[in-house]
Symmetry: C2
Subunit: 299 residues, 2 copies
C-alpha cells in the first residue's frame, strides 16, 4: 500500500519536512529531492535527509518515483506538473501541497494521463520560517491534510491518505472549490489582514516604529508573527484564490464598518453582542485539540 520511492520537488519548509518524515514514518525506502536553486540543493546535500538530490526538473528521478509531490510555490505548481507528468512512470501518483486548489486543477487538466493519478493536496501546517533548514519531520503531526481528488473512488486516494496519516496528519477529502472558500476564511484572509494591519502600524507617522515594537504585547504581536510569513508564497496564494479571497474580504470590511459605526455612535450593545458571540468558537477550537487554552504563553 505504501510508496517505495518518492520524489519531492521543491525543498522548502514543507518539502523538506515531508522528505525528513517519509522514511522514518511512512515506510518509504528511497527519498529523492529536486530544487531549481543550486544553494538549496547544496543545503539538502549537507543536511543529508535525501538519497539523491538534483538541481532542476529531475526527470531521471521522476521516471522512477512511485509518488511525486510538488512543493514548489503555488504559482509554479501547474507549470511544473505539466513538465513532469509526461515522464512519470505508469501507476505513479502526482500530488502537491499548494494552498489553493481550483485554479491549479483547471490549469493541469489538459496534461492529465490515464495511467498517472493526480491527487492535489494541502497539508495545513507551517511556520513563519522558510527554506530546507526550517523543516522538521514532526511538522504534520496532529494537523489536517486536505486532499481534493479528481476521482474520489480511485484506490490511489486511499494510498495517499495512508501516506499522510503515517506522517501524523488527519486526512479530509474535499471538493476543490469548497477547499478554496474554507481556506480563504480560515487562512488566506487572516494572513491578508495581518499583513495589512502590520503595514498600517508601520506607516502611522504618529507612532514611531520603536513604540510599535515596545508595546506590541497583547494583540499586535500575534499579527506580526502571521505577517512574517513568506511574501512570495502569499502573493501567489492571493492571486490564485482571487474570487474566494475577495468575497471574504468584502464581508469582513462590511462587518468592520458596522463595528466602527457602533464605536462612533457609542452603541455599546452592538459591540457587546458581537464580542460575546466570538468567544464560543475559541472554546470549540481548544476543545477540538487544535490549540492549547493559552498555548504556553502568559500574556
Amino acid at each position: 500500500m505504501s510508496f517505495d520511492s518518492i520524489l519531492i520537488i521543491g525543498a522548502g519548509l514543507i518539502g523538506s519536512s515531508i522528505a525528513r518524515a517519509a522514511k522514518s514514518k511512512a515506510g518509504v525506502f528511497t527519498v529523492w529531492v529536486a530544487d531549481r536553486s543550486a544553494d538549496v540543493v547544496e543545503t539538502v546535500e549537507r543536511l543529508g535527509f535525501a538519497d539523491g538530490v538534483a538541481e532542476g526538473p529531475a526527470h531521471h528521478f521522476a521516471a522512477k518515483a512511485d509518488l511525486v509531490i510538488l512543493c514548489v510555490p503555488p504559482a509554479k505548481i501547474a507549470e511544473v506538473a505539466a513538465g513532469i507528468l509526461p515522464v512519470m512512470k505508469p501507476g505513479a501518483v502526482l500530488s502537491d501541497v499548494g494552498s489553493t486548489k481550483s485554479a491549479m486543477i483547471k490549469a493541469i487538466r489538459p496534461h492529465l494521463r490515464d495511467d498517472v493519478s493526480v491527487i492535489p493536496g494541502h497539508p495545513i501546517a507551517g511556520t513563519e520560517f522558510s527554506g530546507p533548514e526550517a523543516g522538521f519531520a514532526e511538522l504534520f503531526e496532529n494537523r489536517w491534510c486536505i486532499l481534493t481528488p479528481l476521482d474520489d473512488a480511485h484506490p490511489d486516494v486511499a494510498r495517499l491518505s495512508a501516506f499522510w496519516q503515517a506522517l501524523g496528519s488527519n486526512v479530509e477529502l474535499m471538493d476543490p472549490d469548497r477547499h478554496d472558500t474554507v481556506l480563504a476564511t480560515t487562512s488566506h484572509v487572516p494572513h491578508l489582514i495581518a499583513y495589512t494591519l502590520v503595514g498600517t502600524a508601520v506607516d502611522m507617522e504618529t507612532v514611531t516604529g520603536d513604540e510599535v515594537v515596545k508595546f506590541s504585547a497583547s494583540g499586535f504581536r500575534d499579527f506580526t508573527r502571521i505577517a512574517a510569513s513568506d511574501p512570495v508564497m502569499w502573493r501567489d496564494v492571493f492571486l490564485s484564490n482571487r474570487e474566494a479571497t475577495l468575497d471574504v474580504v468584502e464581508r469582513f470590511i462590511e462587518d468592520l464598518t458596522a463595528l466602527k459605526r457602533a464605536i462612533r455612535w457609542s452603541d455599546g450593545e452592538t459591540l457587546l453582542d458581537h464580542f460575546a458571540k466570538t468567544r464560543d468558537i475559541r472554546r470549540r477550537i481548544v476543545e477540538s485539540g487544535q490549540d492549547e487554552p493559552n498555548f504556553g504563553r502568559d500574556d
Copy 2:
C-alpha cells in the same frame, strides 16, 4: 520608598495578580481587596491572597491604604475614583490599570486633591481569561507598565514606578494622548479586527462552524484567541478611546482596500512590496525580547 499597605479595588485578572504579587515581590505588608461582587469577594477569601476583603466601596480600607489601585472595568474607573478620593488618607497614591487614559483623566479632574497623588497607569499584560482565579503573581514580569502622571516631577511617580519594577515590569512615562494613540495601534485595533474577523467567519453561511474550527490552524486560530478576550472590557476600551481607535481603523480599511484592489487586478508587485516590509518589524519584536521566534508552537 515602598508602600506599607495597598488596596486593590476590583479583583479580576489584573487586580488579583497585583494582590498576589504585592507582598512577595514589592515589600507590601498589608494587602486589602474590594469588589462589588459578593461571588468575587467569596472567591478571594477562599484563595487567601488578601489580608482583608470587602464587598462594595471599602471606604474603611481606603482611609488607611498608602496606595489604592483601581482595577475595575475602564468605564467604571472615573466613577470609582470620584467616590474613593475624598476618603483617602493624606499622602496616599491613587492609580489604576485602565487601557485608555485621556478620557479617564478628564473625568476625574474635578475630584483631584492636593494631598493625594493621582498617577494613572496601564500594565500591558493580560491573558484571554478573566476573574480572580485567573490571576498569578508573575503576570507582569518582563512586561511594560505605562504611567501617565499628571505631574511627572512629583516624587510619588518614582515611588509607583519602583512598585511596578518590583513586580517585574519595565516602566515608561508617557503623555496620556500619546498613550491612547500608541495603544490604539498596538492593542485596541488589533482586538477589534480579531473580533470582526472571527465574527465574519462564523457568519459565512458557505463555511459551517465545524469547518472553521477544524481548519483553524495557520492564521485564524491566533485571531480566535484574541477575540476570546473579555467582551465587556473591550466594549469599554473602544468607547473610551473612540477617536484614536476610529483614526487607526480608517487607515487600516484604506490599506486593506488597496491590497484588495491589487488582488482583483493581479498586481503582484504591490502585494509583494507590502508583504516584504512587514517582516522587518517581526524581527525587531523578536530581538527586543517581546516574543520568542515561534513562541513554542510548531505551526
